[in-house]
C-alpha cells in the first residue's frame, strides 16, 4: 500500500501552468488514475484531499486550450492598439483565425486614426495650440489666436478708443472659445 500524504493547505499552494499537446492529454490524464484510489493515500483525510485535487487537475487538462489563451491575449493586444492608436484589423479567416495586419514586435506612437484615444488627445492639443497661441496646426488654422487678439485689444485701449471695434474683437474671441 502506498503511503502518500497530501497537505491540508494544498489550495493555498502555488500553481504551475503546463502546456500539454492535445494528443498527449488522454495519456497524461490516464496516468493520474492511480491517485484516484483510496489505497494510494496514507489516510482517509489524505484520500479526500488528494482525490479532490487530482480530479480537479484532470478537469483542468481540458478546461482551456493554450491556443485559446493565446488568441485571447492577441485579441486584447488588438483591442488596445485599436483604441489607443486607431489600428484597424481585418479577419481574413475564422478557422484557423488569421487577422491582418499581424502583430508587430513593437509599436510606434504614430496616430493612425484621429478618433482613437491618442488621436482625440492630439486633436485637443492642436486645438489649444491654435486657438490660444495662434499656432497653425494640421487640423486647425484659425489665426490669430486668443492670446494675440487679447494683446491687440489691450494695446488699442485708450482715451477715444472705438468700443465698437473692441467689442467686435471680443466677440471673435468668444467664437473661438465656443
Amino acid at each position: 500500500m502506498a503511503n502518500n500524504a497530501f497537505p491540508e493547505d494544498w489550495r493555498t499552494q502555488p500553481c504551475f501552468l503546463v502546456s500539454i499537446p492535445r494528443p498527449l492529454v488522454p495519456f497524461v490524464g490516464g496516468l493520474l488514475k492511480i491517485a484516484e484510489n483510496r489505497g494510494f493515500w496514507a489516510s482517509p483525510e489524505d484520500f479526500t484531499r488528494g482525490y479532490t485535487a487530482i480530479i480537479e487537475l484532470e478537469e483542468c487538462l481540458m478546461t482551456t486550450c493554450l491556443d485559446v489563451l493565446l488568441q485571447q491575449n492577441d485579441a486584447l493586444y488588438r483591442l488596445i492598439n485599436t483604441a489607443v492608436l486607431g489600428q484597424a484589423y481585418t479577419v481574413v479567416t475564422e478557422d484557423p483565425l488569421v487577422v491582418e495586419p499581424a502583430i508587430e514586435p513593437l509599436v510606434t506612437l504614430d496616430i493612425l486614426d484621429q478618433d482613437s484615444l491618442m488621436g482625440r488627445i492630439d486633436r485637443l492639443t492642436q486645438l489649444v495650440d491654435n486657438r490660444l497661441a495662434g499656432t497653425e496646426t494640421p487640423l486647425y488654422d484659425e489665426l490669430p489666436g486668443v492670446k494675440q487678439q487679447l494683446e491687440e485689444i489691450i494695446a488699442a485701449l485708450g482715451e477715444g478708443t472705438d468700443l465698437t471695434e473692441v467689442i467686435s474683437n471680443l466677440e471673435a474671441i468668444a467664437l473661438l472659445l465656443a
Binding site: 492535445r22 494528443p23 490516464g30 484516484e36 478537469e59 487538462l61 491556443d67 478557422d95
Partner: protein, 145 residues
C-alpha cells in the same frame, strides 16, 4: 483483518443476491462478533460488493479499444469534491471533431451524453464520499487500462 505487524487479510462470505444491503450488513455484524474469538487479527473494515455476470459469455459488439476511456466529470456542490465516471471503449461518435478539443473532448450536447448525464443525476449516484452528483460539466478522452 489486520495483525499487530500491520499486515492485512480478508474473510470472504457470499450472500444471497436477493438480500438487501441492510440485511447483509446485519449479518456481517453477527459474524464479526464471533470472529474475535477465532482470530488474533482485528477487524478493521468491511466491504459489501455486488457482482453481476451474464449467464453466458457476451461477444464483443464493437471495434473500439477498451483503453479509449470516456471520463465524465460531475459536480456535487460548491463545497464538496467533484468526481468522475469512466466509460471504457467510448465511441467516436460522441467526441468533438472540430475546435481546440477535436479528437479528445466529448461533446456535452450529444444526445447520448445528455441522456447518460440525466440517468446518473436522476438516480442519485455519488462521489466516493457520498456527495450526490448534481451536474455533468466536462468530459474527454483518456487512455486507461
Amino acid at each position: 483483518m489486520q495483525d499487530d505487524s500491520g499486515s492485512t487479510s480478508a474473510v470472504t462470505l457470499f450472500a444471497p443476491s436477493s438480500a438487501t444491503i441492510a440485511d447483509i450488513d446485519a449479518s456481517i455484524t453477527v459474524v464479526a462478533s464471533i470472529l474475535a474469538s477465532l482470530s488474533g487479527a482485528v477487524l478493521i473494515t468491511t466491504r459489501i460488493r455486488y457482482k453481476w455476470v451474464p449467464d453466458s459469455p457476451v461477444p464483443a459488439g464493437g471495434s473500439t479499444p477498451i483503453t479509449r476511456t470516456g471520463i465524465f466529470f460531475f459536480s456535487t456542490g460548491s463545497s464538496t469534491p467533484d468526481a468522475l465516471i469512466s466509460i471504457p471503449a467510448i465511441k467516436d461518435s460522441v467526441i468533438e471533431t472540430s475546435g481546440p478539443g477535436a479528437g479528445v473532448r466529448i461533446d456535452l450536447s450529444n444526445a447520448d451524453v445528455t441522456a447518460f448525464a440525466s440517468a446518473v443525476v436522476d438516480n442519485g449516484f455519488s462521489n466516493p464520499f457520498a456527495d450526490v452528483f448534481e451536474l455533468l460539466f466536462a468530459a474527454y478522452l483518456q487512455s486507461r487500462v
